[in-house]
Symmetry: C2
């Protein structure tokens, strides 16, 4: 349960960095792994830490970027991996996100993020 | 490397069950875990094994469901978890998918799937 809470706290830190447009914190949140991957809503897959961090730099320094509201986060812990799934709301658009964290030096670091629009029934 | 190949084979089996509209195989591919989650393109989050398997039953028994073509799969292995990311093409629409597998009785089983449309540049 402690690791679940720690993973959910890491997830909240990710979205706090987003809303604070804090490029340095966003960089530190990502894992130090060549396997880092990211899928922004509607974007193609980004592979590798440099490409992913650079994309976040572009997003966070965009003055038109709306804030993000999140909710309903759940964490599924499997040894050194936490799979967090949550809802996002950006500029009025509902999305769902997958955030996969891995333990690095006992801290949960983001390995993979995918966010996608929810269009269907039940939204 | 062996586990990476095994995880990629499990990923291929998932898409083979999709194209063969094989409901029993699709059921067996999913993990026996209460944490099973799934996000179909544009759908809201489905939580729990029953809801997820039922959604696949609806999709696979839909005579209008187009085939899926996949490519570019990569697997990142972390102990008993494999994060597979790949491209999908369904009815001419490009998508990206996250497939998270966990080891159950030494077999890779699907814990979480998210697929979302790619709209942006570079597709």
């Amino acid at each position: 349960m402690e690791q679940e809470e720690a993973a959910l706290a890491a997830n909240e830190a990710f979205y706090a960095a987003f809303n604070q447009k804090d490029v340095a914190s966003m960089d530190a949140i990502w894992a130090d792994s060549p396997d880092v991957t990211c899928v922004h809503p509607g974007w193609n897959l980004l592979q590798g830490r440099d490409a992913v961090v650079e994309s976040w730099h572009s997003i966070l320094t965009n003055p038109g970027q709306p804030r993000i509201v999140t909710g309903g986060a759940t964490a599924s812990i499997h040894e050194s991996v936490a799979i967090v799934v949550c809802r996002e709301l950006v500029g009025g658009s509902p999305l769902v996100a997958t955030n996969v964290f891995i333990l690095e030096s006992e801290a949960w670091k983001l390995l993979h993020h995918q966010s996608g629009r929810v269009f269907g029934a039940g939204t």
